[in-house]
């Protein structure tokens, strides 16, 4: 518990009992008593008219780290569909858990997404912590923080992994502060220190110019967000089962008015399918070199993509010029991809772009400027005008088939 009642000053007014979102304060003999379910959220401290509640700031620092077990994956879902990154994280979690010698757990929140529970077992979760509530139907920072935080508090995982999506990057920092622990953003590599079993989290910084390996030695859980498209997906094992933990029953939680301060009025889907870039085996990306006829340029890239069963992508320059939607952007501030073949057409190869595509199996660069940095990472470089080179490649592909 993280708050203390100063008994001499307490008048037993009961305001804290009403204010407490977790029903963790009770008035006994006209004095407020803090129960074990206190999360240290501090709502009572602010609301006390007599200033007789103190926040004792027991963040989880100097925690007994031996009490924390298991690798947790936040099973992000949208509209009842499990996000790819959750499956990738389950793959990574299995690797980490076997090195530590612990279990893989998924934490799932949503409204009637029971079908995902079995899916999570099949993708390798030994346990699924499931919070099922109509108010968790859409992601909200408050709703999800509340329930996942309480689950972490009760079950004490040693590692919590979240996808570095717009949702994971919202929930992660919020949870980390509540838990009083550290969080490493956008990891591209995770390892277990063979000696002390600590999590070593590697991430790019400085726009991908520098890599840093970060540890969280004295606090638990060790939390990371991981970029989608980086880790290898877990294999699906049909019929695999695990243990289901109903968080609503176990934590005895129910949302009250004011618990969730953000309300989602509407969700608008863009016409672009989200999964296309991260799932694609072949990506044909265009950049500034598509000028001065970007529409024609992307149509040409699309033609090659269709021929190869791939999809198109873009550099930040192309997106910033308004030629194509942001969702097509590959790179540090866009999507990280690792297809079998990445065609970079008219892309100079800014470090931020390279950070998002350089782990592709094969990189083909087409650029007029022979000094473009993209040639530094390309397996095959063609110096030339993409408007001539791509039609020639399409022709060569046709010739191969014929």
């Amino acid at each position: 518990m993280a708050v203390k009642i100063i008994a001499e000053k307490c008048i037993g007014c009961g305001i804290c009992e009403k204010n407490c979102p977790f029903e963790a304060i009770k008035i006994e003999n006209k004095i407020a008593v803090v129960l074990d379910s206190c999360t240290g959220c501090g709502v009572c401290v602010e609301g006390c008219p007599k200033n007789c509640i103190e926040n004792t700031q027991t963040s989880m620092s100097n925690v007994d780290i031996s009490l924390y077990h298991g690798v947790w994956v936040f099973a992000e879902q949208r509209q009842g569909k499990l996000m790819n990154v959750a499956v990738e994280l389950l793959g990574e979690a299995q690797k980490l858990a076997s090195e530590i010698g612990t279990e893989v757990c998924a934490v799932l929140a949503g409204d009637n997404v029971d079908n995902l529970v079995d899916e999570l077992f099949e993708y390798g979760a030994d346990k699924v912590y499931y919070a099922n509530d109509p108010l968790l139907s859409n992601y909200t920072a408050d709703g999800y923080t509340n329930v996942v935080f309480r689950a972490i508090l009760k079950y004490k995982p040693e590692i919590v992994l979240l996808g570095a999506t717009h949702i994971g990057r919202d929930l992660g920092p919020s949870l980390a502060v509540k838990c009083g622990t550290g969080l490493t953003a956008d990891c591209t590599k995770l390892d277990i220190d063979p000696e002390d079993k600590k999590l070593m989290q590697t991430r790019p910084a400085f726009g991908g110019n520098l890599m840093a390996t970060i540890v969280c030695p004295g606090h638990r859980p060790q939390m990371s967000t991981v970029r989608p498209g980086v880790m290898t997906r877990a294999e699906r094992q049909p019929g695999r089962k695990g243990q289901l933990i109903d968080l609503k029953a176990e934590l005895k939680f129910k949302f009250k008015d004011g618990d969730i301060r953000q309300s989602v009025l509407e969700v608008i889907k863009s016409t672009v399918e989200l999964a296309k870039l991260t799932d694609a085996d072949i990506i044909i990306s265009g950049g500034r070199g598509l000028a001065p006829t970007p529409d024609e340029g992307f149509a040409l890239l699309k033609k090659l993509a269709d021929k190869l069963g791939g999809t198109i992508g873009a550099s930040r320059a192309a997106v910033d010029s308004g030629w194509i939607d942001h969702s097509y952007q590959v790179g540090q501030t866009g999507t990280t991809v690792k297809p079998k073949i990445y065609f970079a057409c008219g892309i100079s190869g800014a470090i931020q772009h390279l950070a998002g595509m350089q782990s592709s199996d094969y990189i083909v660069a087409i650029n007029k400027n022979e000094n473009a940095s993209i040639f530094e990472v390309a397996d095959y470089g063609i110096v030339g005008d993409l408007y001539k080179v791509i039609p020639a490649i399409i022709e060569a592909l046709d010739a191969q088939v014929a």
Partner: protein, 263 residues
């Protein structure tokens, strides 16, 4: 209405180059700039001030003393005043400790109606300080704000960017919003404001005593995460530059990809 904008001075990472021989970062001559997303955050605040002139916009930053130049830039864009949290005690802070310090600075400013921050800074790209700050202040937050639809009756309606679209969210004031570049186009500094910023405006500098923080709660001491090592990513071996006519090169690349069973 009282608005606070959180801003950071960052090296322009677009200008950072790698020494091709040593494989190390070349930092010399890299200019320091106002973090791009933070410029969008400031613009969003100034837009509110444009329509409600009784609004005050204060900018808060944490960083070394030279960050005052960036804060003067913010004043030249139209911010009313600016505060720099600067002290040796704040050094080595991770996002967790940074958010504690900035939260303490904002508390010192008193009751605030709205806090804007950039989604992330281009030197760290973590996107953590905004939501962490909100959590420390006990305020609701919305990240990735791409549009502020309306601010009225103690509420704000915003569009939050998702990878596959966006959602419309209503949240009560006070709250923290983090801005993405799609939110707006930051205005230029005006000549009179530049003159004011250079000659008259004073950037207040606060240390841990000013914001009533225990040094144990600041900087490296209060950072749960530690950097074990940092390194420049190994460059991928340079491949082959094809030669010949365009048709020859095209045929060659197709043949090579076939050979590797990539297509």
């Amino acid at each position: 209405m009282k608005i606070v904008v959180c801003a950071k001075q960052v090296p322009d990472t677009n200008e950072v180059k790698i020494d091709p021989v040593k494989g190390t970062l070349i930092r010399d001559g890299v200019p320091s700039i106002l973090n791009p997303d933070d410029a969008n955050a400031l613009e969003a605040a100034l837009k509110i001030k444009d329509v409600s002139p009784d609004t005050t916009v204060s900018v808060v930053s944490m960083g070394p003393p030279q960050a005052t130049y960036m804060l003067k830039e913010c004043i030249a864009m139209g911010a009313d005043d600016a505060y720099l949290l600067s002290s040796r005690a704040f050094g080595g802070a991770d996002t967790c400790a940074t958010s504690t310090t900035i939260a303490a600075g904002i508390k010192k400013l008193g009751d605030v109606d709205l806090i804007f921050a950039g989604r992330q800074a281009i030197d760290g790209d973590t996107a953590q300080v905004g939501p962490q700050l909100a959590q420390r202040l006990g305020l609701p937050f919305v990240t990735y704000v791409q549009n502020v639809r309306e601010v009225k009756n103690g509420k704000v309606i915003v569009e939050r960017q998702l990878e596959d679209g966006y959602e419309v969210i209503e949240v009560k004031l006070p709250c923290v919003l983090t801005a993405v570049k799609e939110l707006n186009t930051p205005r230029y500094m005006s000549v009179p404001r530049v003159l004011y910023a250079c000659d008259e405006a004073e950037i207040k500098i606060w240390n841990e005593v000013d914001v009533e923080l225990d040094p144990a709660d600041c900087g490296l001491n209060a950072s749960p995460t530690k950097v074990l090592k940092s390194f420049t990513p190994p460059p991928k071996g340079k491949g082959e530059i094809l030669t010949g006519t365009i048709n020859e090169m095209a045929t060659s690349v197709v043949a090579k990809l076939k050979e590797k069973h990539a297509i």
